[in-house]
Structure formats: structure tokens, C-alpha cells
């Protein structure tokens, strides 16, 4: 079982590794299985802000 402490440690290591190269993650993947686009840009734009 992975502990919270281990998860935090891994995240810390990842942040450090990304910082060394200078990568900034603006948005993570937010793919949803089977989600449906029910609107389109021509008629109706989304009002939800970026998660």
C-alpha cells in the first residue's frame, strides 16, 4: 500500500525534475471517457472555466 507520505515525496521529486528542465504544466490531461460534446462554437460557447 502506498502511503500519503510516499505520494507526496514522489510529487516533490517530479516537481524538482520538471523545474530542472524548466517545464511548467499549465493544464493536465482532463480526458473523460465517453464524454460528449453537446454544443458547438458557432452557436454556444462554454461557460465553464478551465479545471
Amino acid at each position: 500500500m502506498v502511503t500519503v507520505k510516499e505520494i507526496n515525496q514522489k510529487e516533490k521529486e517530479l516537481r524538482k525534475a520538471l523545474n530542472i528542465i524548466g517545464i511548467e504544466v499549465i493544464d493536465k490531461s482532463n480526458l473523460k471517457d465517453g464524454s460528449t460534446a453537446s454544443a458547438c462554437g458557432t452557436f454556444c460557447s462554454p461557460v465553464k472555466t478551465t479545471p
Binding site: 499549465i26 482532463n30 465517453g34 460534446a37 458547438c40 462554437g41 460557447s45 461557460v47 472555466t49
Partner: protein, 434 residues
Amino acid sequence: MEDENLKLSRFTVTTSLEDGRIAVLNTHTNALITIPKTSFRSIVNGNESELVNNHLLELGILVEDREEELEEFMRYFYSVQHSGHVGLWLYLTSDCNLGCPYCYQGEDKPALKISKPIINRLITAIHDLQSKYEDKSLSVTFYGGEPLLNKEMLDYAMDQFNSEFSNMPRSYFMISNGTKIEGVEEVIRWAEKGLEGIQITLDGTKEEHDNRRFRLDSDEGTFDNILSNINLIKDTLPINIRINYDKGNFSLIPQVIDLLEKTGLNIPNITLTFEAIFDSDRSDYTKNQLIITESEEVEYLNYLLEYATKKDFNVAIGFEGPCTIRNFSGLVVYPNGNVYSCPGMAGLPDYSWGNVLSKLDFKKQKELLYEGIYPECNTCPLIPVCAGGCEWDELVNTGVQGRHCEYTKLLKVVKLSMKHRVNNKNNIASFIRV
């Protein structure tokens, strides 16, 4: 540890930023990173540590096999086209109280109103569509004409949907001209029933708006009425203020944004969107020569987004397609019960595939909806935000429904959205994608 087997995703768009960094977007996963130019090549070649490579794999920026990535996307796209997630555009009435000259539905609108029997039969049709799927949801956009000319059916539809589809996620959104809101109480009631947002249009300064969005019965302008109603409901419901632009009103839009700011509308519940006015099969707006060119559209959009974000407004960028026309569980229902797959095509007899009161013709639906990705799009990084483009736009431009590629413009808009997402992390809406 170097990993020569890693490749940049086929759904990658990159753009240079003002500070010398590069923004990298995966259009399928929506992951967005920035990176110094000097590190970019190293990343593309998988030359970084296992920790970093694994994270980039997780984001979808790197992949192990680009062919497998395409196959996986095709499977994903199929699952989006065939699912229990019903996207419904419900035309509460085709009637409208305004006479906007650029309206894509034309000036001569029939005064049809949706009725209880049609909503009841529609519920049966939605149950039928969802019956073979385990995961189900319902996403409804109420529109018209002016949907608030039929408030009784707005309440009835939400009540019935909440009762009949109580076991699945539901979301409701409305497109309204904003003139028929009569007190905050009714908006509170709709919000309690699940209405999550409303799109209301303002088209310029009071003078310019009133020249474009006036009442049919009196020619009276609507600017003051709409702005007053936006203020009335701004704390109750998220509002998307849509501003349509063309050569005639573009220069006046900053004044509107200034006015909205002075009115105190740069708040979390308000989002601004800017849309270029387009031609349709039922309007002849191109005749007045005000419609802007493709390059002007992107230039103007960039200017307006920057202007609005400087004033602390939330902004959103909407892209054309994919929408219900690519979704076999997508329904556009006209007030008489006729069913379509595109809001733009609603009302055009050739594009109806049945009526909820009689029969849905799934053979006709299959003729109208293209299954999968058009072969010409297979190598395009923009498939996830476009899926072949607006088929109604193709119909308007060529007379034949089908793939409508606007790659050059769309790429510019996607890059624009990337820059704005980087610069304004908390106040730009994500775009619609597959």
C-alpha cells in the same frame, strides 16, 4: 534515462511565447505545458529522466507509438459517437420577439411552440437511445427562437427530465436574448431545477446594439433592458455574454467592455465570448459587406480577448464542431417534434430524421451523420477540436453537407487560445473538443 522509443504525440500544437518559451498542447488530452526552447528538442527525443518522460506520457505530450495513438483515438471517437451520453438541443419555440438582421434563422420565423406531448414522447426517445448503454447522462441546451417565449415548457421540460432521468448526471444550459426575464425569482427557480448557465448577447454600444437587436413589434432597442436583466441575475446564474462582431461594430466593442467593467460585471459568474457574425442559408447578411475576413477574425479576436482579460473578465473561446452532427446520441428537437442532428439545420426539411410523435428514422440518421473520422483528416493534429469541421457551414457555402476544413484559421485560434491559457490561467474557459 534516454528513451529513443518515445515520440511527440500526433495531436501536438506548439507555439512560441513572448518570453522565448514554447507552449506545447495536446489537442486530445488538453494538456498544456510550457518549456524553454533549448529543452524542447531534448524532450522530443525522450532524452530526459524516466520520471519526466513518464509524466509527459501521462499528459499525452509523448507517446510510445503514433500509429497506436491514432488507433486509440479512433476507438475513443467511436465511443463518443456511440454512447449513452445524450446531447439535446431543445427548441422551445421557433418564435422570436427580436428582428436581428444577421440571425441565421432568417427574419420570417414560424411561431411554433413545443408542447407537453412532444416533451413526453421525447423522453421515451431518449430512454430508447440510452437503453443499450450502461453509462448515461443528459446535457440539454434550451434555445429557439427565444426560448423564454415558452417559459411554461422550460419549467415542464426540466421537471420531467429531473424526474425521468434522476439516476444520471444532467446539465441544462440556455441561449436567450435576455429580454424576457421578469424578476430574479424565476431565474432562482430554474437554477434550483438545474439550469447551469445562460448565454445572452450584447452587440456593441447602446446605439449600435439597438440598431441590431431591436423588438419586432416596435423597433425599440433592447440594450437597457438586457443590461438591466444581466445585473438582476448575475449573482444567481453564470452568464455567458456573447458579443457578435463584424466590420460595423468591432471598433465599438471595447466601449462595451468598459461599460460592463464600470457596471461591475467583471465577476466570476460572467464570461465574455466574441464570435464573428457568419452567413447562413436563411440570412443574406453578406450583402451588406460587413462580414469580416478570416485573417481579420483572428486578429480582432486576439485584440478583444486581450482587452477583456486586462479588465479582469473571464473569457471563453468556442470552436466550431464537433457537436451533435457527429453524435449518434445527439438530438436537435424542433417545436413540432421533428428531429435533426444540427442546430443550424433545424427547420430544413431535408435534414430531419423523423419526428418524436411518430417515428425516428435511424437509417436516415446514419445517412446524415458521418461515422468515424474523414480519411483526409487522419494526419491532422486538430482532429480532436474539429472532427472535420462544421458540416452546416459546408452546407451554407457549397450547398452540400460534409467535411468543412478551416485548418489555417483553426490553427491560429488554437494557438491564440494556448497563449491566453498560459497568460491568464484562471479566467479562460477550456474549448470544446472530442
